[in-house]
Symmetry: D3
Subunit: 260 residues, 6 copies
């Protein structure tokens, strides 16, 4: 089956993590999965949530907030505050982002701090939650390195990289990294969050108004494994490039915006 953007069934869209999009954050990247662009910013607060104090839990906390900017979709999306309530889907996604990051962060090593992971979608073209998780892991890694460099943390609390990708079944074929139209038309949509060692952190497979077999699931998981491995390679590359910025890095940023 030919994909609308000419990709192979097991091919990721163009993936980029552009650092420095929000300079007041501890660290930030613009996470791009093809046409999907998410601002992922990490900020650190020298305090922990009330429930941790009440329950006298040691260490720190990491929490995430996700929102779609009103102009990220083709039809303008009303702001949550205009509706007076947080969108159910956003609530679900931000809980997923938080769990995914906490799975690879040693909260004990954070000290009495809260790490805020904010994901704001600038352009939505399918896979905003996977772009959010994967980009946030890059931003968190950069933020922790900065805190260690500044002497605020003794040790980097990140146990390893985490990344997420969508897979699905479309007209009987398993596909990697679905764009909006593919996602809309797919019978099954599965989001897989994995560590760089290939362990699962979270699996969310749903056949909205449809079902899927064990065999189909295996085919999709195989694709996800391949996709995550590739994502982790790009994450690692971004982190190391950003640590010592050079000509290549700046050129890639420039070329990103130049092509738009």
């Amino acid at each position: 089956m030919e994909r609308q953007d000419g990709r192979l069934a097991d091919e990721l869209r163009k993936i980029q993590f552009i650092p420095g999009i929000a300079p007041h954050a501890a660290a930030s990247v613009l996470s791009c999965f093809g046409g999907t662009r998410v601002i992922c910013a990490v900020t650190v607060e020298e305090d922990v949530p009330r429930w941790m104090k009440a329950q006298r839990v040691e260490g720190g906390w990491l929490t995430a907030e996700y929102s779609m900017l009103p102009y990220s979709t083709l039809d303008r999306k009303r702001r949550d505050i205009a509706n007076g309530r947080l969108d159910g889907r956003s609530s679900e996604i931000q809980r997923l982002i938080g769990r995914s990051l906490r799975a690879v962060v040693d909260l004990k090593k954070l000290g009495s701090r809260t790490v805020w992971v904010d994901c704001d979608v600038l352009e939505a073209d399918g896979g905003t939650r996977t772009a959010s998780i994967t980009g946030s892991a890059v931003a968190a890694s950069l933020a922790f390195e900065k805190l260690v460099a500044e002497g605020r943390l003794a040790e980097n609390p990140l146990r390893g990289m985490v990344a997420a990708i969508s897979v699905g079944m479309l007209k009987g074929a398993p596909l990697l990294d679905l764009c909006y139209e593919e996602d809309r038309d797919a019978d099954v949509d599965m989001n897989v969050v994995m560590t760089e060692k290939g362990e699962f952190v979270e699996i969310q497979g749903s056949g909205e108004e449809a079902v899927f077999t064990g065999k189909e699931m295996e085919a999709m998981l195989a694709l996800a494994r391949k996709g995550v491995a590739e994502l982790v390679r790009i994450q690692r590359e971004t982190v190391s490039l950003t640590a010592r910025p050079g000509a290549e890095d700046l050129a890639s940023l420039a070329s990103f915006f130049a092509k738009k």
Copy 2:
């Protein structure tokens, strides 16, 4: 490994669906998975959501709402209205219940109606979302039969039964149908929603602050498959007993409350 309530690793808790708990609903059951008790009630509204009208979608809609009653937990849980906002976890669960039911309901056959599935947890002891989905499927089945009997529906829109069960990894061993303490201590918690044909509807596996391997996932899915098969058997039995109530049925209700 010995389980605290003496169950085998692949053994369900005592499962019961007690019909008629809320007589003003189209149909209702008290869904019991051991100590977990959820009121599952189905009501039918002769109207469809505004977005369906706006987009001129044919047929009906099915939506779910989930809430934990304040006295369902050992520490009283504040009502959502006292907090002024819907709990994030509840929002996530009610979306899952809705998707799970819609996967087995032919919305076209509903006509221009909205089916409301309300799940209110009376007692929480792990697995409230699986008890909600599984009990709601029973209530929906009873409600559809009633609508057909009343001539409001030409045909039963339920394509087949759907059920859900939790599985997890605790101290290296896969376990079926986790109670609260097992759920709290487990490294991985997976909720599996399947049809009676053994197809997947939804998989939500999460290693909160932990990870799991592909092999562990396979072991958990095998348990889930077994559990769902057993749940469907009990669902079917309840539906057929309720259709023609006899002495056995009433005795089971009496004995349920007598043992508490």
Copy 3:
């Protein structure tokens, strides 16, 4: 005048308080006044409201929350959280329940605790506020006995039983314990809360779009007095039966559900 369910003018509907409906509460009953069923659950928190601390008031507090479950009415009732605000009628009723219970509880003897009385209507057929108050008094009595048995309270803070009943004028005749249709058609609806000694705790008489004379009020109060005396007898019986559960108790529970 013949009543639609064949009752005499001064006859209560079938009254039952089924204990143990919500096992995680300190105590709970399903309070049934004919077709009206309300879950009444009492939970105890080891803390007092902020205003008590600020004003340095000694002792504890008792507060109530009331809600109609969405499937308790023939037309589904939207949840408060879906409306974003607490229903005005619910707010009024929960304040009444709280005042009624506080009138018979010695708050000083509670120690620095908050007693939460939660009333959730499972089926509404008139008189939900009277079933709530009367059932809550049973649940509170059981909860206090439990706290005393556990050594958490030195003394039972309940000064005596409290019960509530509705009376009204329908086609010129005074009626006791109105069901939904009678309540809807009545010219006057009066809710009377009394102690077991026959003292008034609260009287709320309202001739919605109508008025009533002093004589009519006297006739209604006479009925209320009779009804409350009967309710207190059943409350007392339930409390003593629940304290030492035997065959009679279980049989009554079984027969309750068997008849539905």
Copy 4:
């Protein structure tokens, strides 16, 4: 027993209804019961609530809103909007005001209109709900006369006057029209709403953390009857004076403000 302001047990505070306080309303009065001052304003909207249209109810509607202005109490009272929710007590009172007025208004004669009764407390010194109801009846009467004069109504829909007064038991003695300190110290607080013919519209008697006997109730009702008769006389006087304003009227207004 001597009252703090020297009144007899059956004596009202100084009662005044000063018309024209809010000139953009259809009619308005500043209702004064001693130190308690409530702005009562009636506005008329040429539309009915959505539920009336949905249920195709004939005629109009009358509804009330009550609020305490932040500077009406000795300690500043936060605005509802600052709390994000309507105060439970305010909700209860505004429902009472609405019911009381509807009892004497023939909604059918209103035509397809909504009458809004707004009560905003300028100074609270006990009895704000009774001052609200009694003042609103004056304002409604003036508004209806105006609508009839303007030809918008064929007939005045007010069936007769309605007034409300508080009574209570303090140190064993029944008292009429309690001021703040009396209300705070009373064992029983009863609000009685009656028509000018001496019929009851609403009775709300509450022994907050206390109880009262039938005999005490009778004594209080006798006082209430006397108080309401006096209130109706002043209401009638105000309405007739306002209809043809003269020197006496203006002087009374001036002297009211002069004495403060």
Copy 5:
């Protein structure tokens, strides 16, 4: 150009500040700019906002709240709490009132207190924000004098009087103190807040869907300067009259209400 109420272009409407409208406040006035009437009340709380404590800011705070009472406009204005959110225009105005007053109050001299300035519009006929600021300055002045007299403040923290007036361009001509119709028809609407020394505190000039030249601005500012000087004279007179109330004062109050 002739103005609809016969005023000259540089003439204020009838300005009055009637003290004592809300006796429980520390001080209050009914601020009247022609048909516009605003209740301005000042209350003092012996506490400071949380942010001041957190940032360890010395001294006190002054904050304002503004609201239009529902019957202040010809078409009833829904209460903010009915909409569930504070009106954007009200939010803007109350921030302006707060800033204007803080510009002339020495917060250091307040001690650890919060001064609340509440402005509730009783009748709106253009210029409610200028009547609010100007009346609030009178009320604040009276409140501070009272606190000094009671020994709670060592010194009056008011540095000098502040007043506000609207100016605008209508059909090419600059006008002072616009009434509702003039405000609605004007091309430019400018609100000018000044001290009694003629310094600017705040200027808000807006050509809603229009623009204005530098020359037009100069002409409007000249009018504003004249208007503010006159307002300050009346403010000063009111404060001194209220300090030693005599026959003139009471007569003016009486005549105010008598003319309505």
Copy 6:
């Protein structure tokens, strides 16, 4: 006086409008005033607000929403939805943006459409409202050109360019385009919105806890005039460059991000 970033008193910060930041919008720019970066995006809805329909107003509407992203400030700013209410300052600013744009847009020529102007602050370093207005005017201009090119609009409804700049008095000297520290330390902060013809659209001058003279205002307005002229030149350049993109444009984008 030397400015901290070495600028002259009448010198703007580096101004850039980078187009295409949000590709799903009708048009968008990243508006940069030195360290201040605001996403300005314009979307067009084929509908008008309810009040326009109710009042049968011809033409279209333009409205703005403003928000600070949580990572735009050095201390993380909580989202409005987490507070449950729109920030007062944000409400004030978005109303200003809307008025400023409407002053130069012929709403009649829009047809029955709503133009949404969304401004989300990515980095705040003083002057976010001026960067929002000025950048939004560029985005609106691009969006209108696109609608004309697509044949959806017959004519460009933009009457001319609008721009905004801050001026202030710091240590006695007038300064143009204040950065965060200058804004914080300034005695007066004035925001001036002007058209390209040098007419005023809006002036907001505030001496928060301070005052300013007429002479100081004149000095500040002279600076503002100069600043706006320069801003309009850059706006015009951006619009024309974006219409026919070439090498210069891309290089400027690249260099922008390269310098961060």
